[in-house]
C-alpha cells in the first residue's frame, strides 16, 4: 500500500465527541478560555497602543460602573438585552428561527409611546388638578396592553403563515422588522411625535414625548426620591422576575416540555398528540408578548421613542440566547458581558479617557467573544493524542 506522508509525526491527534462532561470541567474550560482571551487582549494592547492594558481595562470599568448613574444605566441596558434574549428563547428552543425580536420590541415600544402621545393631548391628562399618580395608574395599563398586543401580533403573523402555508419564518420575521421600522419612522415624521421642536424649550435637542404640555412626564416610570437613574428600577425588577418565570416555564411546565419535543422532532410531537401548529403559534405569540413588554419598559423608562430605540439588540439577543444554551441564568452573564464591552468601548473612545479608537475596543470584544464561543468546541469534543503507530515498510 502506498504511503503518502513522507514526514513522520510522533503523535496523532483525533477529534472525538465527548460522552458527557462534569460541570466543574466545563466551567474550567470556559474560565481558561476567558483567561487566554484576556491575555491575548493584553498582548495586543501592548503591541499596538503601547498602553498598559490595565489602564484600558480600568477605563472600560469606569465607563460601565464609574458612577451611580452609570451603574443604573448599565443595569438597565443589561436587563433590556436580557429581556429580549429571554423573549426569543422559547422560539429558538422550538427550532423556530425567529429573528424578528427587533421589530417586535420596536412595535411594542411604539404602541406604548402612541398611548403616551395621544393621552398627552387629552384634557384629562393635562388637568393640573389631577395627581400624576392617578394619571399614571390609568395610563400604564393602557400602554402595557397596547405593547403586549402589538408585540403579540408581530409574533403571531409569521407563526400563523408558517403553520398554515409553511412559509419561511426567518425571511418573514426579518421582513416584519422592516415593516415595524417604517411604521415608526413614518409616524415620527408625519405625526411629529415625539414632539421634537415646537414644545421643546431647547429647539434642537431630541425631545421627550409631550414635552411642553402640562401632561409632560405621564407614562414614564417615577424616580425614587428623585435620584437620577432610579426610573430604571421598575424595568430591572420586571426583567428579573421574567428570568425566573422563563426558567420555570421552559424547564418545569407542560408548555415548555411541548416546546422541547416540537423542537426535537415534529413527527414525535404529533405521535404524542401534541398539536404542532398550535404550539408554534402559541410559542411565537408568547415570544412576541415578551418582546412587547420589553418595548413598554424601554419607553416607560426613557420617555421617548425613536426608530433606533432597539438598536440591533433584537439580533444581539439571538446570540445571547444561543451563547447561554437557552439557560435564562446564563443569559444574565452573557448580557452583562456584552453590555460591559459596549459601554467600555464607548468610554475608551472618550477624549478624556485613554482616547483610543472605539474600533479598538470592539476588536478586543470580538477576541473575547471568539474565545467564549470557540471553547464550546472543547466542551463538545475532546482531542485524543495517541502515539503514532510505527509504519514498517
Amino acid at each position: 500500500m502506498k504511503n503518502k506522508t513522507s514526514f513522520f509525526f510522533p503523535f496523532e491527534v483525533h477529534i472525538a465527541k465527548r460522552d458527557g462532561i462534569p460541570a466543574w470541567k466545563r466551567w474550567m474550560i470556559r474560565s481558561m478560555a476567558i483567561l487566554i482571551a484576556l491575555l491575548l487582549c493584553a498582548l495586543i494592547t501592548i503591541l499596538i497602543t503601547k498602553l498598559n492594558p490595565l489602564t484600558v481595562l480600568k477605563s472600560m470599568f469606569n465607563g460601565t460602573f464609574g458612577s451611580s448613574r452609570k451603574i443604573w444605566k448599565t443595569c438597565f441596558y443589561v436587563m433590556i438585552l436580557l429581556g429580549i434574549s429571554l423573549a426569543v428563547t422559547p422560539a429558538f428552543k422550538m427550532r423556530f428561527w425567529n429573528i424578528g425580536a427587533e421589530g417586535q420590541v420596536l412595535i411594542g415600544a411604539f404602541a406604548a409611546a402612541a398611548c403616551m402621545f395621544y393621552a398627552g393631548r387629552m384634557s384629562f391628562f393635562n388637568d393640573p388638578g389631577i395627581s400624576m399618580a392617578v394619571k399614571n395608574l390609568i395610563l400604564f395599563p393602557c400602554m402595557l396592553i397596547a405593547s403586549l398586543a402589538a408585540g403579540a401580533l408581530w409574533g403571531f403573523l409569521p407563526a400563523f403563515f408558517k403553520s398554515r402555508w409553511n412559509t419561511n419564518e426567518t425571511l418573514f420575521t426579518l421582513m416584519m422588522n422592516y415593516v415595524a421600522l417604517q411604521i415608526v419612522r413614518f409616524m415620527i415624521s408625519y405625526r411629529d411625535f415625539p414632539k421634537l421642536y415646537q414644545w421643546s424649550s431647547n429647539g434642537t435637542s431630541v425631545g421627550t414625548i409631550n414635552k411642553g404640555f402640562p401632561s409632560e412626564g405621564i407614562g414614564t416610570f417615577p424616580k425614587l426620591m428623585n435620584k437620577a437613574g432610579s426610573q430604571y428600577l421598575f424595568p430591572i425588577v420586571c426583567i428579573a422576575l421574567l428570568t425566573l418565570f422563563l426558567y420555570v416555564y421552559l424547564k418545569y411546565s407542560k408548555h415548555g416540555y411541548e416546546i422541547s419535543v416540537v423542537g426535537e422532532s415534529q413527527r414525535t410531537a404529533s405521535y404524542a398528540g401534541i398539536k404542532v401548529d398550535s404550539v408554534i403559534i402559541r410559542t411565537m405569540v408568547l415570544s412576541g408578548l415578551l418582546c412587547g413588554l420589553v418595548g413598554f419598559l424601554i419607553v416607560g423608562a426613557e420617555g421617548t421613542v425613536s426608530h433606533d430605540v432597539v438598536d440591533g439588540r433584537g439580533y444581539t439577543a439571538v446570540m445571547v440566547s444561543w451563547m447561554s444554551q437557552f439557560n435564562p441564568f446564563g443569559m444574565v452573564f452573557s448580557s452583562l458581558l456584552l453590555v460591559f464591552m459596549q459601554f467600555g468601548a464607548k468610554e475608551v473612545a472618550m477624549p478624556d479617557g485613554v482616547s483610543l479608537d472605539k474600533n479598538f475596543a470592539n476588536m478586543l470584544m470580538s477576541i473575547i467573544l471568539f474565545f467564549i464561543i470557540g471553547c464550546e468546541f472543547f466542551i463538545t469534543y475532546e482531542l485524543q493524542i495517541s502515539r503514532h503507530t510505527k509504519r514498517e515498510e
Partner: protein, 523 residues
C-alpha cells in the same frame, strides 16, 4: 494443513467512549477467502469494531494488520486504500442519480468523466458475481434490494477485497436473501474475504464458514460454522443457556376490538399507499402483518393512530371492551383519540424520528405519553414518570447509568427499543401496535419482546405485529395479514400456513396487477 493467511488481523483493539468500554482487547482474524459471521447481542461492540476497520472510529489501543502488514486507518479513504469496503445498514445513495452515477460518485479517476466506461465496468462486475442490475436505472426507482446491490458494487468497483456487510438481510425478503447469499459465495470463490453482521442465526449457519462472537465488548471466541447450532451460538452470545421457543398459547376470550373497513390512503403525489384494506383485530390475538418493506405497513398503523389523512370511504371502528360501544376513529387526531378514552399504544418503526426524543432522558421520554396528567396544573409532574422509568428499567433490564440525565440516544439500540416498548405497554393499552419491534435487536432482547407481546395478548390486548422475519411471524402470531403493494393479498391462520405460501402472497398481487396491465395493453 496449509497455513491460513489472514486478510485482516485486529490485535488487542480497545475503544472507549467516555467511561464506557465499547471494545476491550479484541483479537479478531479474518482469513483470506472466508465468510466470517460476527455475532453478538446489541451493544456488544460489533459495529464499533467494524467501524474501526472502515475508518470511522480510531482505536485507543491495538494494531490492525491487513494481509499481515500493520496499517493505520484514520479515515474511510484509508480503509479503501487498504481494500476494505463496508456496506452500512442505511444506504448512502443519491436518489436522483443512476446506479452508475452513484457508484462513481466521489471517485477521483484520472481523465474525463466517462459514464460509458464506468457502465461497462459495472456490467463486468455484475456478470462476474451474479448481480442483477441496470446501470442506468435511477435510484428512486429501485427496491431496497437493488439499492443494496448498488452499495455492494460501489465497494467492489473501488477494488475492495475485504467486504463488511452490516445486517444486510434486515430489509430483504427470503427470496432476496437467498440471492444475496449466492452473490456472497461467488465473491468468496473469487478470493474476497467477507464479514457479515446479522442477528438471524439460521442465516449465520447457512452462509458463513466461521463465527466470531462478541459479548459486552469482549471477544468470546470463534467456532467453525459446521460445528455450531442455533442453540450453541445463542448460549455463547448470551453467556448462559437460553430457551429459543416462542409460545403461542390460545387466549380463552377473543373479542372484536378494532374493525378497519375500506381503508385507503394516498400520499402527497396522489399515489395510493393503502387500497381498500379491510380486517379486524381481536383481543387475545396477535395479528401479524407481513409484506415486503414499503407495502403500506407504516401507513396502516399510522392511519389507526390518527396520523394519516384517510380517503372518505375509509372507516376505523374501535369497540370499547367494557361497554361494547362502537367508536369511529377515522378523522380523529392523536389527541382526540386519547381524549375519547381509546387506549391505543403504538411502537412506531422509526424510533427516534417518531416514537422517542433522542436528546431527552428516559424519564422525559416516558413522560411523552403521560405529561398531560393533572389537568389544570401548568407544571409537569416529574416524579411519576421517573418512577415509571425506573420500573421499566428494572422490569426489562435496560442497561443505563441513570434514567433522568443521560440522553436516550447514547443507549444502545436494544435498550432504546426496550424503553419504547416498555412505555407503550405501561399505558395498559387495549390495542397495541408494533412496527418492526425487534429490528436490529439481538436474539435475547427479541425473545424478551416476543414474550411481552404474548403476555399482553393473554391479558386481552389486541396486538398488531408488523414483522419481517417470517419464521417469527408464523410462531408468534395467531393470524397473519399479508400486504402487497398496499392491498391485502390475504389473511391466513398462522398455525396452518407455510413460510413459502406467505412469501408468495407477499409478491403475488404485484404480479397479478402486472399481468392485468399487460392484458390491457394487448387489447
Amino acid at each position: 494443513m496449509e497455513a491460513v493467511k489472514n486478510a485482516v488481523r485486529m490485535a488487542g483493539i480497545t475503544k472507549h467512549f467516555g467511561s464506557v468500554v465499547a471494545n476491550r482487547n479484541i483479537n479478531l482474524e479474518l482469513h483470506e477467502g472466508e465468510i466470517l459471521s460476527l455475532l453478538g447481542e446489541n451493544g456488544s461492540g460489533k459495529t464499533t469494531l467494524m467501524n474501526m476497520l472502515s475508518g470511522i472510529y480510531y482505536p485507543d489501543k491495538g494494531q490492525i494488520f491487513i494481509h499481515d502488514k500493520p496499517v493505520t486507518i484514520k479515515s474511510p479513504k484509508d480503509a479503501f486504500d487498504n481494500g476494505i469496503g463496508m456496506i452500512h445498514q442505511h444506504f448512502k445513495l443519491v436518489d436522483v442519480f443512476t446506479a452508475t452515477e452513484n457508484i462513481i460518485l466521489g471517485l477521483d479517476e484520472k481523465g474525463s468523466l466517462n459514464l460509458k466506461r464506468a457502465s461497462k465496468k459495472i456490467k463486468e462486475i455484475s456478470e462476474r458475481y451474479g448481480f442483477e442490475i441496470d446501470p442506468n436505472q435511477k435510484v428512486y426507482n429501485m427496491s431496497v434490494s437493488q439499492k443494496q446491490t448498488v452499495e455492494i458494487i460501489k465497494v467492489l468497483y473501488r477494488g475492495a477485497d475485504i467486504l463488511i456487510l452490516d445486517e444486510p438481510t434486515a430489509v430483504l425478503t427470503p427470496q432476496e436473501t437467498d440471492k444475496l447469499f449466492a452473490v456472497m459465495r461467488n465473491m468468496q470463490k473469487d478470493g474476497k474475504s467477507l464479514i457479515i453482521i446479522t442477528h438471524k442465526l439460521h442465516e449465520v449457519l447457512e452462509v458463513s464458514d466461521r463465527v466470531a462472537i462478541l459479548r459486552k465488548g469482549e471477544y468470546i471466541g470463534d467456532v467453525a460454522t459446521k460445528d455450531a447450532s442455533q442453540q450453541s451460538l445463542t448460549d455463547m452470545m448470551v453467556g448462559r443457556a437460553v430457551s429459543l421457543n416462542i409460545d403461542c398459547p390460545k387466549a380463552e376470550v377473543i373479542q372484536e376490538r378494532l374493525r378497519v373497513e375500506h381503508l385507503t390512503v394516498k400520499d402527497v403525489e396522489g399515489v395510493k399507499r393503502l387500497d381498500d384494506v379491510t380486517f379486524t383485530a381481536n383481543s387475545g390475538e396477535i395479528l401479524g402483518i407481513a409484506g415486503i418493506a414499503g407495502s403500506g405497513q407504516r401507513e396502516l398503523l399510522e392511519s389507526i393512530a390518527g396520523l394519516q389523512k384517510l380517503e372518505p370511504e375509509s372507516k376505523i371502528v374501535y369497540i370499547d371492551p367494557k361497554t361494547g360501544e362502537e367508536r369511529i376513529l377515522n378523522g380523529l387526531d392523536p389527541l382526540k383519540i386519547i381524549r375519547s378514552g381509546v387506549l391505543l399504544s403504538f411502537v412506531p418503526e422509526d424510533r427516534f424520528g417518531m416514537g422517542l426524543v433522542g436528546s431527552m432522558s428516559i424519564a422525559e421520554n416516558v413522560m411523552l405519553r403521560s405529561y398531560r396528567m393533572g389537568r389544570g396544573n401548568p407544571l409537569l409532574n416529574r416524579k411519576h414518570p421517573r418512577d415509571l422509568a425506573n420500573k421499566i428499567v428494572d422490569d426489562l433490564e435496560v442497561v443505563t447509568p441513570n434514567v433522568d440525565r443521560i440522553p436516550l440516544r447514547r443507549l444502545s439500540g436494544g435498550n432504546v427499543q426496550k424503553v419504547l416498548v416498555g412505555r407503550e405497554i405501561e399505558q395498559s393499552p387495549t390495542v397495541l401496535m408494533t412496527a418492526y419491534a425487534v429490528r436490529g435487536l439481538d436474539i435475547n432482547t427479541s425473545y424478551t419482546i416476543y414474550n411481552l407481546l404474548t403476555k399482553q395478548k393473554m391479558q386481552g390486548v389486541a396486538v398488531i405485529y408488523v414483522g419481517e422475519d417470517l419464521d417469527v411471524l408464523l410462531e408468534l402470531c395467531d393470524r397473519i395479514l399479508v400486504l402487497c403493494g398496499g392491498q391485502v393479498s390475504g389473511i391466513v391462520d398462522a398455525r396452518s400456513v407455510t413460510k413459502e405460501q406467505i412469501g408468495l402472497m407477499m409478491t403475488q398481487f404485484r404480479k397479478d396487477s402486472i399481468a392485468k396491465e399487460a392484458a390491457k395493453h394487448e387489447k
